[in-house]
Each structure stands twice: as structure tokens, then as C-alpha cells.
Point group: C2
Chain length 283, copies 2
């Protein structure tokens, strides 16, 4: 019997619980979350077996999955370093930034505890335990950053996650944080900024935002994401994100100049380049 | 029998042909498009009755729908001003900018021809006659800008478009161009810029863009749109677009400063504001 503790029973944590439940029969899952409703829902569906406070459940666990916001993950790694844990324990996380998390995990390495950094590149603008599914990460990259875990712990974790059909991808923490700042963090900043800019401007127009068509809605869909989770990510990866925003602004200013000077050749070249790249992502 | 000429048989023009075909039995539709394949497809499905050159078909028409890019619409209005047309003719367009189009249409007003500016706020990243549907604009705003059309011409056009289930919205040309620059034109600029910025940066990374998850894909979906059509829009509405980009950049810089200084309160307030507004669009 493998005893798994999942801390954070939102969209990601509850999806991992569903995946582990489907992957392996001899697994007992303890859920930890201050949100009693999420835990009650997952208990009622028999997705988790128990609901216990984090510090009470941790000493019993063979595998601990930290599935809260990055700030909570880091605080929980500190908490774990002061508890008496099983000697073969594997701790892993799902945080969207990895440099800070891997630094915090050095405390566990010193105590002989296995830590494996993780980050599933999926998710949704939906939130909460009710919206989790076994297929949330299916076909998407699940980044793994090597820490103090053993080879056996890594393969056991991957076995537990088998039903998720993820695309395991090894990466170092720095490369990861730069890549996701570009592919995920900065797009969230841009989507939120676009919504706020337009809302400020059309605020008094009776037609206003009600005229928004599919294009605006898809471009800003991720602006509906959980502000708390995304604030924690901004705090944890602020340097990379700020630097990528600077790159974006530079490119935007160049495009703006082409538009305001009505440089047709430059405008069509810019749109054509983007179209070619964007289309390739759907192939 | 109402004789309709639709010039431009892409996504929008072919959808209008389908809608008019379904709305009214006594309508004959002539399609004009240099793309023989699009016309052949619509002829084979009996969505249009004939395929003829624009200048040859125009003198026979009771209603002309200009459904090409804005630059083509303006050129065709000039062409019409030199043809011998039916005295009760209504000309309308689907262009994404209205100030330039309404100015060009003054030439028709002087000749006693009815012109009604139009712009359906829908569309898709899909293109072409094959992808048109009667429901492409369903539930979305279809902007109308009053020109030289008579009351009866307006109501006849709306009758022809009945099956499209659009939300007719009267607007003046200036207000329209500002609103769509915010809701549609600038989002296209931003989506294309985001794709190009990330592609330049991750170009040499083997993981790179393949790691893009749903968030990046939805934010940049409209970057796959037709570059020619969007270049024509930029050329036609360059001042409004450039000014809205400036507003966006100002707001982005403020957000960037909050992120780089790790101002948690400001970051969460910004994301929370955007979340609230964006969620309201789906209600």
C-alpha cells in the first residue's frame, strides 16, 4: 500500500488524486486543504480516502504532492524539514516556478529526503476540485526538475501518474523558469492588462464590452484565472517575467511604429510571421 | 426576386450568402471573387447561383454586399460610382473600420445610391468559403452605420439577414472605430506580437514552443488570422490603433513595475480587477 498525501485540492491537486486513483489500486490518498468543501466533495466521490491537516498526515506518507500556490509550496517545504518523516519519503510539487522551489528543497536534501521538482503544463481557467479530471494534463508536457530523489522514487512517481498520459520532460530549473515566463506567465500579464485597459476606456460606453467577439474573448480567457495563484507566481518569478515583458514591449513598440507610419510591408511581414508560427502549434 | 451581389466569398461573404439563402426563397445570389475555387465550391452547394466579375454583375443588383478586405471595399465603392446602377440599389459592406468606408461612400450618396455601413462582430481564425456558416454571427453584435440608405432599404437588408440571428446595433463611425480598435484590432496586434516575441526568444530551445499549453494557445489563437485582411485594417484605422496600443503599453508598464518591485498588493489588485471583468463576459 502506497500512502500519498496531496496538499491542495484545487484543479491540479484533485486531478492528480484522480490520476493516482486510476493508475494504481493499492494507493491510499490523504487530502489536506483548509477548504472543507473541496475535501468533502472528493471524499464523497471516493477520490481521496481521508481529509487531514498537513502536519498530521505528512509523517505517515510515502509520497507527498505539494499542489498549492508557489508561496504555500515553499512554506510547506520549510514545515516538512521540521517534521519526523518516513526515510524513503518522496516529496514533489506542481509549482509554476522552479528556481525558488528547488532552493527551498535543499533543506530536505540535507535531511536525506527525496525531492523532485514538478510542473504540469496544463490547467485551465476553471478552478476547484469539482473541475479536476484524469485527462487535465493528457498529451501536455509535465516538467521534472531533478533534485534529491532516487531513480526508484522517480519511476514510482511516474507509475503513480500513468493514467494521466503526460509527456514527461526533464529540464533544469533556470531554463524552466525562463520558458514558462514566456509561454505562461507573461501571457497572463498581457491578458489581464488588455482586459483592464479596455474596461477603463469603454467603461462609460453603453455598447462597450458587450460587443466583444470571439477574438477578444479567447485572447483574454486566461484573465479569468485565480488571482491568488498568479500573484504567487509573479512574486516567485518576478525577474524573468519583468525581463520578458520588456522584450514584448520592445517588439510591440516596433509594430506600433509600423502601424502609425502605415508601413504596409512591415505590417504584413509581422502578421505573416506570427500566422506561420501560430498555425504550426495546432499541427 | 431580389438580385444580390456578394463581392468577396471568404468566411464572411460566404456566411452572408448562406444566411440570405436561408432567410428568403425569392433571392438570386451572384458571387464575385477572383478565387475561382471559392466560387466553384459555393456554386456546387447551390449557395450562390452565379459567379461573375464584379463590374459585370453590379448593374443588375438590387443589393450589393462588399465583403472583401477594407482596402478592396474602398476601391469597389470608387468603381461603383462610375457604373450605371439600379436606382433603388442598396450597397452595404462588412469592413472592420467605418470612418474611411463612410467617407468613400459619399461618392455614392451624391449619385442617389443608398449606402449602409455594416460590420458583423464575429468571425473566426478560420478562413475561406468552406468554413462559412449561417450561425457565424449568431448572438453577436452586427454594427450598422447610417449612410444614404432609405428606411425601407435598411429593413429589407435586415429581412435578408434574418436567419443569421444577429444583434443589430446602430453606431456612429467614429465610436465604432475606437471601440473595435480596442476589442478587436489591438488584440490582434498583441497576439501577433506575443507569438513573435516568444518565437524569437525560444527559437533555439529544443523544448521551446512545443511546451505551449492551453493558455498560450488561446491567448494567441487570433494570430493565425489572415495577414492580408488584418494589414488592410491596420492601414485603415492606424491612428486609433496606435493610440490604443499606447494606452495598453502604459498600463503594462505599470503592471511590470508592480511585478519587478514585488508589490504583492498591487499585483493581486490588478489580477482581481481583470478576473472580475473577464468573468462577466461569459455570463
Amino acid at each position: 500500500m502506497t500512502m500519498v498525501l496531496i496538499s491542495g485540492l484545487g484543479l491540479i491537486g484533485s486531478s492528480i488524486a484522480r490520476i493516482m486513483r486510476e493508475s494504481q489500486t493499492d494507493v491510499e490518498i490523504i487530502g489536506a486543504d483548509p477548504d472543507d468543501d473541496a475535501a468533502a466533495f472528493l471524499l464523497s466521490r471516493q477520490i481521496i480516502n481521508k481529509h487531514e491537516p498537513f502536519s498530521q498526515a505528512a509523517p505517515k506518507a510515502d509520497v507527498i504532492v505539494l499542489a498549492g500556490p508557489v508561496s504555500v509550496i515553499i512554506a510547506q517545504i520549510e514545515t516538512l524539514a521540521h517534521l519526523s518523516l518516513k526515510s524513503n519519503l518522496l516529496v514533489t510539487d506542481v509549482g509554476s516556478t522552479k528556481v525558488e522551489v528547488m532552493q527551498a528543497a535543499e533543506n530536505l536534501r540535507r535531511q536525506g529526503i527525496g525531492f523532485l521538482g514538478g510542473h504540469p503544463m496544463a490547467g485551465s481557467h476553471l478552478v476547484g476540485a469539482q473541475n479536476g479530471t484524469t485527462q487535465l494534463f493528457s498529451g501536455s508536457k509535465y516538467f521534472l526538475v531533478t533534485g534529491s530523489q532516487t531513480k526508484q522514487q522517480l519511476s514510482e512517481f511516474q507509475k503513480l501518474m500513468k493514467a494521466g498520459n503526460v509527456d514527461w520532460t526533464m529540464i533544469d530549473a533556470q531554463t524552466h523558469d525562463k520558458l514558462v515566463s514566456e509561454l505562461s506567465h507573461v501571457p497572463h500579464v498581457i491578458a489581464a492588462t488588455l482586459v483592464n485597459t479596455v474596461a477603463d476606456s469603454v467603461g462609460n460606453d453603453p455598447v462597450g464590452l458587450t460587443a466583444a467577439a470571439g477574438g477578444f474573448k479567447s485572447t483574454t480567457r486566461i484573465a479569468a484565472s485565480d488571482p491568488k495563484m498568479w500573484t504567487a507566481i509573479m512574486m516567485s518569478n518576478s525577474e524573468e517575467i519583468s525581463s520578458e515583458i520588456a522584450d514584448f514591449k520592445r517588439e510591440l513598440t516596433e509594430f506600433q511604429q509600423a502601424i502609425s507610419s502605415r508601413n504596409e510591408e512591415k505590417i504584413i511581414a509581422t502578421f505573416t510571421k506570427a500566422q506561420k508560427i501560430r498555425k504550426s502549434l495546432d499541427e
